[in-house]
């Protein structure tokens, strides 16, 4: 274990290299590109023996690592935004074929308008694909989740793709100190990839074949069961991680100062650091607040989330994405958890940090203050007052201002 001052992209690349992938294939897209550039350097420097392939699109990149993984070779790709959307056709297939590909998504907004900065609309938009989704708060967690992702994805009880989400620019472009484990430690945590079924000319098999109505429903049922099983496997793997690497691994979620909290914030990714800062400030003022950091968004650990939140009177969900015409995806799911349950807290939904707009302590404090008065469903925080909001009533703008 060595602690190093690294650019996030390099920390992620070193973590990937320690997992010994045989094939790396990607197509560049900001802010992901520096991750695969750093991996290309590691391969070119001879530090990792892997085939590095430049694909002509993200669709091809995902297809190539799908094929490589099917032959029994651990593989890696990274993308974001439009690239992830282009990949999504392949990702649904990878899940259906039960191919445990691992990718990093450097969360970025979706066009139009063209914007290269961070929000979660890209990954949230493929939430129903059957891909495991994990979200990192900082670069240490980003590196750690790479090891976890491979181990969980390749577990025979799971066999599903896994995607590690890192907030674009906030993580890959930031230099911070990260502990990088040794090869021996990673090998002790992550066994070699030995799938039960693979593409082999000596023993021909076909994957993702034609399936009539008499069997298709069962394939979806099995996917659902595998996703549910992944919750247990993530918990087990996080436990093993702590044993092997001798430092904390939160697995599904992290509960920060939630024990006696009346109000619990809920968020994913780098915004949680800012929320923790606000939680500490409010605690100093005597307010009983905490934050639940959701790491594992898919599968959705519903029982664990309910247990973590049930003691609160007020829940404040901050999301970097919205299901347009509806609410934030997290709000919908968390509210549904509390239906037909004895505890019925206020559950607020706030949208913030879209397209790279910083979530600051002021943003979080605003959500806290607003939630004291009433309950919000999909309230946009930090909305500009000087922009013409076509179709929005003037009174509405003033109200939000």
């Amino acid at each position: 274990m060595v602690k190093k001052m690294l650019r996030g992209s390099r920390a992620i690349a070193e973590a990937v290299a320690l997992c010994r992938p045989g094939v790396i294939c990607a197509y560049p897209i900001t802010p992901q590109t520096i991750i695969v550039e750093d991996l290309a350097n590691i391969v070119a420097d001879g530090e990792l023996k892997a085939e590095y392939i430049n694909a002509e699109s993200e669709h091809s990149a995902a297809s190539i690592i799908l094929g490589a993984t099917l032959t029994g070779v651990r593989s890696f790709t990274a993308t974001c935004s439009q690239g992830l959307i282009l990949m999504s056709e392949v990702l649904f297939n990878a899940a259906g074929m039960r191919v445990p590909i691992v990718l990093v998504n450097a969360n970025r907004s979706l066009s139009a308008p063209l914007n290269i900065w961070c929000d979660h609309q890209d990954s949230i938009s493929i939430r129903d694909s059957g891909v495991i989704q994990l979200y990192a708060e900082n670069n240490q967690e980003a590196a750690d989740l790479i090891f976890l992702a491979y181990r969980v994805a390749e577990d025979p009880r799971v066999m599903l793709p896994a995607m590690v989400n890192v907030d674009g620019f906030y993580l890959p472009h930031a230099y911070e100190a990260v502990e990088i484990p040794s090869q021996e430690e990673v090998d002790a945590f992550l066994p070699p990839f030995q799938p039960k079924y693979k593409l082999d000319p000596q023993n021909p098999l076909t994957f993702g074949m034609y399936c009539e109505p008499d069997k298709y429903t069962e394939t979806r049922f099995m996917l659902q069961k595998a996703m549910e099983k992944a919750i247990t496997v993530i918990q087990e793997s996080a436990h093993l991680f702590e044993k092997v690497f001798a430092r904390p691994c939160f697995g599904l979620m992290e509960e920060y100062r939630t024990d006696d909290a009346d109000t619990i914030f809920l968020g994913m990714g780098s915004m949680v650091s800012v929320i923790k800062e606000v939680v500490d400030e409010l605690r100093e003022k005597g307010e009983r607040v905490g934050v639940l950091k959701l790491i594992c968004y898919r599968p959705f650990p519903k029982e664990q989330i309910y247990e973590a939140l049930k003691g609160a009177k007020n829940i404040i969900i901050i999301e970097k994405a919205i299901s347009l015409g509806s609410f934030g995806a997290l709000l919908l799911e968390v509210r549904s958890l509390f239906y037909n349950r004895p505890q019925r807290p206020k559950i607020n939904g706030f949208i913030a940090g879209l397209g790279g707009r910083d979530i600051t302590t002021e943003t979080i404090n605003k959500a806290w203050q607003l939630s004291q008065k009433q309950t919000y469903d999909a309230y946009f925080l930090d909305l500009r007052e000087d922009v013409e909001l076509e179709g929005v009533e003037y009174e509405e703008i003033i109200k939000r201002g």
């Binding site: 001052m5 906030y170 472009h173 930031a174 230099y175 911070e176 650091s273 910083d358």
Partner: protein
């Protein structure tokens, strides 16, 4: 309240502002402190004004948003001062401004701004109560590194005068980032700038 020191670097894409931020973070790390360094830019193109940011603390750093009220500002390119007059429209954008065209914007009154300029601080026109330090970083870079557009390490030598990070740690960071003669040369540029600014004090 844990004290976090905030540094904002102004440069043009290609002048090494991100490297400057990295070197400060690396030096802080070498001194046993916590640091977070990160850039902010638009669709990348050489010469466009951009920012890099550094936070230093004795505790883990949790704020990742851009720095609005820095303790220190480092200006790598003197022509960025001219941009202030050209960007009155941008100035009005306030909080939502993509990049900080006004180098002194939000700088704490008890802060320090270090500018790459052959002029004396009294000749610099800036609306700030903060301390102004000037250093002929481009001249130093031209002389020692052979390139005037590599003024960032000389700026860091001047930054060491503030005592926030030691000159030794910054030199060590330069040698880690640039192994071999290049690291030595950059450490030399740091030392030269440090001596010049120290001599003025």
């Amino acid at each position: 309240m844990i004290k976090v020191k905030e540094i904002r670097i102004h440069g043009r894409a290609g002048q090494g502002a991100i490297t400057t931020a990295h070197l400060i973070a690396l030096a802080a790390f070498e001194e046993g402190k916590e640091a977070l360094a990160f850039p902010h830019f638009g669709a990348e193109r050489m010469g466009a004004p951009m920012n890099a940011f550094v936070r230093i603390s004795t505790q883990p750093i949790r704020i990742r948003s851009r720095i609005l009220n820095p303790d220190y500002v480092l200006v790598l390119d003197p022509t960025l001062l001219q941009e202030i007059e050209d960007a009155s429209e941008a100035k009005e954008e306030g909080f939502f401004l993509q990049r900080f065209f006004d180098v002194a914007k939000g700088l704490k009154p008890d802060g320090t701004i270090i500018i790459n300029s052959p002029l004396s601080p009294s000749q610099i026109k800036l609306s700030t109560q903060a301390k102004i330090i000037t250093v002929p970083a481009s001249h130093i870079a031209k002389e020692i590194l052979g390139r005037a557009d590599r003024a960032n390490t000389a700026i860091l030598g001047a930054f060491a005068v503030t005592g926030e990070i030691s000159l030794e740690a910054l030199k060590k960071a330069a040698k880690i980032r640039f192994p071999g003669p290049l690291g030595e040369k950059n450490a030399e540029a740091m030392q030269r700038a440090y001596d010049i600014v120290k001599g003025k004090d």
